[in-house]
């Protein structure tokens, strides 16, 4: 009987180690329970033990070596455990000391370019795979509970997104642009893996939006992957998600029209998946400029009136500010130098210049191969009221390639040569779109995300391999270290036993930083 009681007590304790989805309704203060830290996508933490006054003494607390490719996921921190990923792999480690708890490995075919992380629902974790499956794991030991196919890997689909838990469902989107395929956002039952609703990023033929495509063939192969985790407003019960570029990628001639709902920010009813509103940062994109970048949510004044806002620094080089209740466009402003657009239309969308579209003899465009920004997370600091994004300025030559039948021979329909580029960390005044400050980096590789904290700090990395803590008011360096590699994910933070940690994934190593003696 004693043994039974002990087991029962243990089970009760263990069940208490999970994550009640209701806890996500209140922004976490000391944990990091979802991809962006909370539903808003601000990546702003209220923690301030590490602050501008003491960050110069920030030191290594521990490191965890994955012996894997670059970490591109943001770890979750729940009840003293960190959960993070690379394609085919999930790790659970002790958030106090970086010791391994368990490791899950599932080798698969498919695209292994990136994996953003897991979602946690009660005592389970959810993980997308290169072969476009969704896997449910027991958070206690990493044992597989179920494994369902979301899409057909033979058509280039994969799942890189970190699922978003909304009430009693998981929201996911599909990745992949090796093939001209349609994409979708789905709500999945976390208990069974069954689909609750599905929203197609391309409208069905003969439904609103289909008229923005030349024909059914183009429409049903038009791309629009939904490959980054969106955000959620519980009061509006709206999910906000970005969609990717149309297909063929560079050959716009094959798909005249706005090509809805590619390169769009959409608001979906969380219960039904119905489209409530949309805004399209890049109508008829011909430069591979996904609008999947995090739709960041905050409440603030716009022209003297308090608003529920949504801000996105989009891959096309423009910052967009919308009213997230209605989708009303409020502001469009460039955050990097670029010349592909001639102005804004009545909807606030940039007007693409025909002469900057890919051309058979090459079109010189002020842009970077990966766009003005990409999957590295931005941050909004409610204290400075600045929106921060790691960006690129650059010059490219874009080519259009068609065969004798005036069709592209592959899903690209062209190519691009990168001439010159420079990394930039840009601080944008959320209300005016004006650039408050810019920190120029060097040439080099890097996709560092950004974390801001109530400690009056901005954590990020640069393309030279430095990890940085900056003054968010002006970008001045307060702490730095050469971490021996590239920060390929976004920093996150949590507090455990009274000690605040900042975690950074550098190449395949997870580093935790803390103040000495705390």
């Amino acid at each position: 009987m004693k043994l039974f009681m002990l087991l029962f007590a243990s089970l009760c304790c263990l069940s208490g180690q999970g994550l009640d989805p209701a806890a996500l309704l209140t922004p976490a203060t000391s944990t990091w329970p979802t991809y962006n830290g909370d539903y808003s996508g601000r990546r702003y933490s209220a923690l301030k033990q590490i602050n501008a006054g003491n960050v110069s003494s920030l030191s290594l607390a521990w490191a965890f070596q994955t012996h894997s490719d670059a970490l591109k996921s943001t770890p979750l921190e729940v009840n003293g455990v960190l959960y993070f990923t690379v394609p085919d792999n999930v790790w659970a480690i002790d958030a106090r000391n970086g010791r391994l708890i368990w490791h899950y490995s599932r080798p698969s075919q498919g695209d292994h370019v990136g994996q953003r992380g897991v979602a946690m629902y009660k005592d389970r974790l959810y993980f997308g795979t290169p072969d476009a499956h969704l896997v449910c794991l027991n958070a206690r030991d990493g044992k597989e509970i179920w494994d369902v196919e979301i899409a057909d890997v033979k058509f280039g689909y994969y799942i890189s997104v970190a699922p978003l838990v909304v009430k009693d469902r998981l929201i996911i989107g599909t990745s992949g642009d090796q093939v001209d395929t349609p994409h979708f956002v789905e709500a999945i039952d976390p208990k069974t893996g069954k689909v609750i609703w599905r929203w197609d990023t391309l409208p069905r033929p003969d439904t609103p939006g289909a008229e923005t495509w030349p024909n059914k063939e183009a429409l049903t192969h038009g791309g629009g992957p939904a490959w980054l985790t969106g955000t959620y407003d519980p009061n509006l019960n709206l999910i906000f998600w970005g969609t990717g570029n149309p297909h063929p990628v560079l050959a716009g001639v094959a798909r005249p029209g706005r090509n809805l709902y590619t390169c769009s920010i959409v608001a979906l009813d969380a219960d039904t998946g119905k489209l409530v509103w949309f805004f399209q940062p890049s109508p008829h994109d011909t430069h591979d400029w996904d609008a999947v970048e995090t739709p960041v949510l905050f409440d603030a004044e716009f022209h003297g009136r308090q608003r529920k806002l949504l801000a996105q620094a989009s891959r096309n080089g423009y910052y967009f500010l919308l009213d997230r209740t209605t989708g009303e466009h409020l502001l469009t402003a460039p955050f990097v130098p670029t010349d592909w657009a001639s102005g804004l239309n009545a909807r606030g969308e940039p007007i693409a210049r025909k002469d900057k579209e890919p051309q058979p003899d090459g079109s010189l465009v002020e842009a970077y191969l990966e766009g003005a920004t990409n999957w590295m997370a931005p941050s909004f600091d409610p204290e400075t009221k600045l929106f921060y994004v790691n960006a690129f300025d650059g010059f490219m030559v874009y080519y259009l390639t068609l065969n004798r039948n005036n069709r592209p021979d592959d899903h690209q329909g062209g190519a691009a040569s990168s001439l010159w580029s420079q990394s930039l960390l840009v601080a944008i005044d959320y209300e005016s779109g004006h650039i408050r400050w810019t920190r120029k980096g060097e040439e080099g590789e890097g996709h560092p995300g950004i974390l801001t904290t109530a400690g009056h700090l901005l954590f990020t990395g640069d393309t030279s391999g430095n990890l940085l803590a900056l003054d968010p008011e002006n970008g001045h360096t307060l702490w730095h270290v050469n971490a021996g590699g590239s920060l390929g994910s976004s920093p996150m933070t949590y507090e455990l036993d009274g000690r605040q940690y900042v975690v950074t994934g550098v190449d395949g190593v997870l580093y935790a930083w803390a103040l000495p003696g705390t």
Partner: protein, 268 residues
């Protein structure tokens, strides 16, 4: 598309690879397979390409990407799920009468070759990224006016301040493939910067700039030795020979880009 290969000097070999594709389309010679980024074409696939051109291309296009007469096979579930011809071969052999596709009367061996070609095509097409080179033949690129390009070179472009058609640019069109030349004249990214450092003691070191950020700076001196300093402890001046190229990137019009290219192509 999400993350693409970063800007690197490997770009130019990729461009050359793309030009090889143009030959491939004409000669059915798998030159693209020579390059590291592209899948090699087996003997069977090579034979299958020729067979495909003869028996299938009229409806499905020379590379299977479709025409108004027949669908794009790169988007076909039959092709994408095929294993060693188990799905493709019956369709070729029996046709799809309900969809207007006739049976194709070729041997089992020839069908196997076509299957090998289609699998190669899928692999090849799926690997395409925006960073890949394109079919950039001189015919496609040579749209500018050479005389206007020469005038720009000697006038508004200020190119003649540093370059000479009878000096460093003599025969330049024979040294680089057309797409390489176009990218290189716009911005030849592999040209190093130099830095002149003045140390706290007043010593001067000049050399090739190896590294520089907010925190440190490093050069290789004329004897090949490496030196580094904390950026805050030295004075330094950096000479970037590509400054004028970068300025010009902001000044080119679509016409002047192609005019200058046309002029440089005359420097054989």
């Amino acid at each position: 598309m999400l993350v693409l290969p970063p800007n690197s000097g490997k770009l130019f070999p990729r461009v050359r690879t793309g030009i090889r594709i143009a030959l491939l389309l004409v000669l059915y010679t798998p030159l693209r397979g020579i390059a590291d980024d592209n899948p090699p074409q087996s003997e069977a696939a090579r034979r299958g390409h020729a067979q495909f051109s003869q028996s299938c291309a009229f409806c499905h296009g020379a590379n299977g990407a479709g025409t108004t007469e027949g669908p794009n096979l790169l988007r076909s579930g039959v092709v994408r799920h095929d294993q060693n011809g188990n799905l493709i071969a019956p369709v070729v052999r029996d046709g799809r009468p309900g969809k207007g596709m006739p049976a194709v009367h070729i041997t089992d061996s020839q069908i196997a070759d076509v299957v090998a070609f289609l699998h190669w095509r899928l692999d090849d097409a799926d690997r395409a990224t925006p960073a890949d080179a394109h079919d950039s033949s001189l015919q496609h690129l040579l749209t500018g006016n050479a005389d206007a390009g020469k005038a720009f070179f000697n006038g508004a472009g200020r190119c003649s301040h540093c370059h000479s058609p009878s000096g460093d640019l003599a025969g330049i069109a024979t040294k680089y493939a057309p797409a390489d030349l176009q990218a290189r004249f716009l911005y030849p990214a592999d040209v190093p910067k130099t830095a002149s450092i003045t140390t706290p003691s007043g010593a001067q070191v000049t050399g090739q700039l190896l590294y520089q950020d907010e925190f440190s700076i490093a050069v290789k001196d004329r004897e090949g030795w490496y030196h580094s300093w904390a950026s805050s402890e030295v004075k330094f001046q950096i000479q970037d020979p590509l400054v004028a190229h970068l300025e010009l990137l902001h000044e080119y019009t679509p016409a002047s880009v192609h005019d200058v290219f046309a002029y440089l192509e005359t420097l054989k």
